[in-house]
């Protein structure tokens, strides 16, 4: 039916499409991430969200985050948000997700991660329960404050390997995540009781944030 010329034209168009696919993929991934974060945020506003749905969405965010940090676009994706006044929802969502084991170990491997801490101090850390009760950092300053309060002296150490200009959301999150990742890896810090926060507690936390 089609002439040869037409066929070739189609093939060329396809090639052009493929060439454009790389940024298109990035855009699609970004929109998927944004969509997921909004969905996740809405999930957290419910008293009893559909757990299966929230877990699937959270896994998607983790996966995208993992992939983005591998190809280095995660910083770009989050930093602009942090430059101004970080929108609360973005802050909350990423903050929650960065605590996950997989994301933490992933981020540990990054060059910007702080120097590994000895198992001894890790053990001390383990004794200190994370996030005193329902209290959660509601702003960037508070995150820093919390980190400092939790491990006296470790705050400097935490950011020692980090350039001064990295006092943005990403660095804090990376630091926090890596920090926790090390805690988890440290044998002395096996199962700190304070880490056992329930989903209900998290809901409570989000509720507070929403109210704030």
């Amino acid at each position: 039916m089609f002439a040869r010329g037409l066929k070739r034209k189609y093939a060329e168009a396809q090639e052009a499409q493929e060439a454009a696919a790389v940024p298109a993929y990035g855009l699609q991934r970004q929109s998927l991430l944004d969509m997921s974060l909004v969905k996740l945020q809405l999930c957290h506003m419910l008293v009893e969200p559909n757990l299966c749905r929230s877990v699937l969405i959270a896994n998607t965010v983790r996966q995208i985050q993992e992939e983005m940090s591998q190809d280095g676009s995660w910083r770009g994706a989050v930093a602009p948000q942090a430059a101004g006044r970080a929108p609360l929802e973005r802050l909350v969502s990423t903050e929650l997700l960065c605590r996950s084991g997989t994301a933490a170990s992933e981020l540990c491997a990054r060059p910007t991660a702080p120097a590994p801490r000895g198992p001894k101090s890790g053990g001390d850390e383990g004794a200190d329960p994370r996030g005193d009760g329902g209290r959660v950092p509601t702003s960037l300053d508070q995150i820093l404050e919390t980190l400092e309060r939790r491990s006296p002296g470790s705050g400097d150490e935490l950011f020692a390997a980090v350039d001064g200009s990295y006092y943005d959301l990403d660095a804090v999150l990376t630091g926090a995540a890596a920090h926790e990742g090390l805690e988890a890896l440290s044998p002395a810090a096996a199962a700190p009781p304070g880490c056992k926060s329930d989903l209900g507690e998290r809901d409570h936390v989000v509720e507070i944030l929403v109210e704030a």
Binding site: L32, L51, C52, Q63, S100, K196
Partner: protein
């Protein structure tokens, strides 16, 4: 695959319609009993409607085996959890029949939190002539009682009564997604997002936790239980599926409570596949043991897979339910359709598989001939006793007559729940608030 199963045989013998459509009328569970004589449906309003198959009549051949309403009762009421300050929906998530052991029928129905055992029994006689109370049940004045009477049973109009016999509550923190009666007929299990409990039918204040996948830290949670079922013959074996697309086979003799990762069936992931939405779509929404063989069927968003228990790394059969949606997964994620929980069923001989899709379409796969068909359950297209026509969805290109384009599919009309008669070719299909019963063409 061609969609060329001979559907001339399938005729629509029965069509029931609630013309008033409210949220509460949406059917959320469909289940035949073990003989196929009864069919129970549950809805979002917490009601259970039981249909009974009409006895065959020699005079009306064409009316053979129609199902009529037998009993309707309110199984669950909306509740309020004052501690969590949250409403517990009355929606019936699952219905399971118990094998019939006497004149009465028993079924289990569950909402998100509470399982109930119902007894459905007939009464066509009424005792009359009590000494201490009158016909209305009011107590008589003892002074007026002068003679002693023997109560007698008098015939009356047939009455079907549904009475709650047991209420199994307060054992689930998360939402119950499955219940399954064990082959010992003394126990059953109820599964929620993170735990599975084993109950004895006689004991309501105690249950045993037989699976628990809740991590110590909920922030590490990456997987939930999506469905669970007992083995049809081995009372110690059960299976559960997860949101990561795994199926776990558990033996209660091996451990009292499954926590780790016992035998599981999962297809290895394709490393070249980077699609996030495709990963979302691998969450299993239903798992069913076959009755005759040691096969397990699972339904994920795009496919139905059949697994041999002895082959862990890949399914023995894979059927595409609506492959034309593969390119639309992103928008299906956006509108939350990707989280729809489609169920799947076997026919009586495990040779045909049925499952639902969108646009009121449902699919059948013949395992022997490898042929498949798409049929539609809709009021507009099917009149009582009309023959169903196979439907076809076209992807791009020219749309032929009788074909429907992917872009014009109605994603609000979804068929999530279907049931197959245990021995005959009669199927029940729940399409939103309508129940359709189709059967092989009579003679």
């Amino acid at each position: 695959m061609e969609e060329d199963i001979d559907t001339r045989k399938i005729n629509n013998s029965f069509l029931r319609d609630h013309s008033y459509a409210t949220e509460a009328d949406i059917i959320s569970a469909v289940e035949f009993n073990h003989t196929g004589e009864l069919l129970a449906t549950g809805d979002k309003g917490g009601r259970v409607v039981i249909f009974q198959r009409e006895q065959e009549s020699k005079n009306q051949v064409h009316r053979r085996g129609e199902y009529n309403v037998y009993s309707t009762f309110q199984s669950h009421e909306p509740e309020f959890d004052y501690l969590k300050s949250l409403e517990i929906e009355e929606k019936i998530n699952k219905i399971r029949w118990l094998p019939q052991q006497n004149a009465a029928y028993f079924l289990l129905s569950t909402n998100d939190k509470t399982v109930k055992l119902w007894k459905v029994s007939e009464r066509d006689k009424r005792p009359e002539g009590y000494n201490l109370k009158d016909e209305e049940g009011r107590l008589r004045d003892p002074a007026t009682i002068t003679t002693l009477r023997v109560p007698v049973l008098r015939p009356m109009d047939l009455m079907v009564e549904a009475t709650p016999r047991r209420v199994f509550a307060n054992a689930h923190t998360y939402h119950i997604n499955s219940i399954s009666v064990n082959s010992d007929y003394e126990t059953y299990m109820s599964a929620d997002d993170l735990r599975i409990n084993l109950w004895n039918f006689e004991i309501t204040n105690q249950s045993f936790n037989i699976a628990d996948i809740k991590p110590a830290n909920m922030e590490e949670l990456t997987e939930v239980i999506t469905a669970a079922e007992f083995h049809p013959h081995h009372c110690n074996t059960f299976v559960y599926s997860s949101s990561k697309g795994t199926i776990r086979l558990c033996d209660m003799r091996a451990s009292a409570c499954v926590t780790g990762t016992p035998n599981f069936l999962k297809e290895p992931e394709d490393p070249s596949n980077r699609s996030f939405s495709l990963k979302l779509s691998s969450s299993i929404s239903d798992v069913k043991f076959s009755q005759q063989w040691e096969d397990i069927m699972t339904r994920d968003y795009l496919t139905v897979k059949v697994w041999d228990l002895n082959m862990e790394n890949r399914p023995i059969e894979t059927y595409q339910v609506h492959n034309y949606l593969r390119s639309k997964l992103c928008s299906l994620y956006e509108n939350d359709c990707i989280f729809d929980k489609f169920e799947c069923v076997w026919n009586g001989s495990d040779s045909v598989i049925m499952t639902g899709s969108y646009n009121n379409f449902f699919r059948m796969f013949d395992r022997n001939t490898k042929r498949d068909v798409t049929l539609e359950a809709s009021r507009e297209n099917s009149k009582p006793r009309a023959i169903l026509k196979p439907r076809k969805v076209c992807v791009g290109g020219k749309r032929r007559k009788d074909e429907i384009s992917v872009d014009s599919l109605d994603f609000s009309k979804k068929i999530l729940h279907t049931a197959w008669h245990p021995s005959e070719n009669i199927i029940a299909v729940a399409a939103t608030n309508n129940l359709y019963i189709f059967q092989d063409k009579v003679n």
